[in-house]
Symmetry: C2
Subunit: 337 residues, 2 copies
């Protein structure tokens, strides 16, 4: 009988039921305090009577923002990212923001498609966990953004992460303190800022300890098979190495397996240290000694900074570093005397 039967209720329907104007309904919902208690109650009652839920599209259009932030990452299945995501979500939820995840898979076409969400208004700002900076012009001038974990050199975006050089330094020091001298480093992928920082920290610790003669660098990467190759390389070329510091946990696991296949016992013959403290580091055997990053806090802090940008408040530019710590488990021991 009524004109439209099975359509979602709109603000007009609520207004009619509550006996007020649509403007008042909107106000009661968005800024309850500027509406008299009486009308507010009437509106809320009408809302639940009608089953009203705001039409996001209309809201976005009118307000000219989406209430969504875009999280760009290379690989959603990488456990390293999940705790960061939780941190992001916590803050975003508190601020009533939705998060949209964009998975680049290392593909630049995908990356461009994902960035399109910022140009078409589906998202208001971005958190970039991707090593690569957005291709030129793909990200509209002045879009709020924060980079996480990997610095994006040459971009104006603030950055939140771990002080990788310092953490790598600490990790190497830790091995030195256990009595090791011949300590190798398996790096990350060559084009990565993380790789550079961690390598620098290792070199610095070795040098400061007067061990520059023992610096042993092996090109690696962040995945298991990179570690396997590195372990093989190590066994072939520097068999007397007593400890290895790896650029991340996954490659450390590969190194360990590979060394075991070459007859080494870990940690009895050789110690191996990782970086990241992924969940699996505790399940792997030997349990992995590694560097723990405050991933949840990193996510939170990054989201907070993005929030400040979105609200046009002044925000911290440059890098923000959160604390790391060494987690001692079973893959590191003192050297065989």
């Amino acid at each position: 009988m009524t004109k439209k039967s099975n359509n979602r209720p709109t603000v007009r329907d609520v207004a009619r039921v509550a006996g007020v104007s649509t403007a008042t309904v909107s106000r009661a919902l968005q800024s309850p305090d500027i509406v008299s208690k009486k009308t507010r109650d009437a509106v809320f009652a009408a809302v639940s009577e009608t089953g009203y839920s705001v039409n996001t599209a209309a809201q976005m259009l009118r307000r000219n923002r989406s209430g969504t932030i875009l999280v760009i990452l290379p690989d959603i299945s990488n456990p390293f990212f999940s705790k960061i995501l939780s941190g992001i979500e916590e803050v975003a939820t508190r601020a009533n923001l939705t998060i949209l995840i964009g998975n680049t898979n290392g593909d630049s076409t995908r990356y461009a498609n994902i960035l399109e969400n910022l140009r078409n208004g589906r998202a208001d700002g971005a958190l970039i966990l991707n090593g690569e900076a957005p291709p030129d012009g793909m990200l509209p001038e002045g879009t709020p953004a924060v980079s996480i974990s990997e610095r994006l050199d040459g971009t104006p975006y603030p950055h939140v992460g771990t002080d990788n050089e310092r953490a790598a330094f600490d990790a190497t020091r830790y091995l030195i303190e256990q009595g090791h001298r011949k300590i190798a480093h398996v790096t990350g992928p060559q084009d990565n800022t993380l790789t550079k920082d961690r390598r620098d920290g290792y070199v610095k610790a070795m040098t400061e300890a007067g061990l520059s003669d023992h610096i042993r660098l092996i090109d690696g990467g962040f995945v298991y098979s990179d570690g396997e190759h590195a372990g093989h390389h190590l066994a072939k070329n520097w068999p007397d190495t007593t400890a290895v510091f790896c650029a991340n946990d996954e490659s450390a696991m590969g190194v360990i397996r590979s060394l075991q296949q070459h007859g080494y016992s870990v940690p009895d013959d050789i110690s191996v240290m990782g970086f990241d403290d992924v969940p699996f580091a505790r399940i792997f055997q030997p349990e992995l000694t590694t560097v723990h990053q405050a991933r949840n806090l990193i996510g939170q802090r990054a989201m907070e900074i993005l929030l400040e940008q979105l609200e046009k408040k002044p925000f911290s530019t440059g890098s923000v570093y959160l604390d790391h710590r060494i987690v001692s488990r079973n893959s590191v021991a003192g050297p065989r005397n």
Copy 2:
């Protein structure tokens, strides 16, 4: 000088530059074939000249759909889900749909918030990887949805997954074929349909093989510590067990560690089998023999069925099962005779 300077270009700007009406611009962009080549080219040129990008909010409002589908899952960091997500993404991307991920974390308030995306128009349909059905009335009548992996008993949504009873049957048969008789089963969490199906498959295989006297059920769960407890229980109560079939890989790893701590060698003293074939199953030692699910295909198929619903085409109702297979690795061997 012109009225608005730093605003995003709209369809009007494109129309002005191309010397056509906004209607034509829209048509050139949405259905290029119904516009003359000449105007089409002019419009495309104007688009790149102005740097135009459609305003999603306006589009959503006018079209009354978001072009987004909601993927609801309990835990984004669970590696089991990532390949399913890839499958979903592949099909969604092909259909020009954005995917929005909602992480319930097992929290029903979060769940309700996530479902709000369907009521407020931010998403057009849902893929539910969550074991729980949406709370009554939370999901608007007739919303397109498909459940993945876990059946949602009592809901009208189609389901895509593995035939868990059959797969568990096959896994148990596999152990029997290796010569095992005293085979225990560590179940999943008690309230779960997967748990029931896998337990049933185990019981059926045991019974059919005349081994009903050897049925040994241990209440477990899907996480590592569940497996540890189960392993302990097993060592205490059924020390002569020669093989264990676990409800998933993570708990299988816990079982293995726990049995090792009780002095068992795996697989020499006791064989352990998992379920899922998560990426880590190949890295864990001993490498885990397990049941591989076609996770990517499951994601693809589910998304396809959702697509059919969205397009109001007839769609397959009931369950669709994709093939599983046993992956033989090192955690299973014949029994010590």
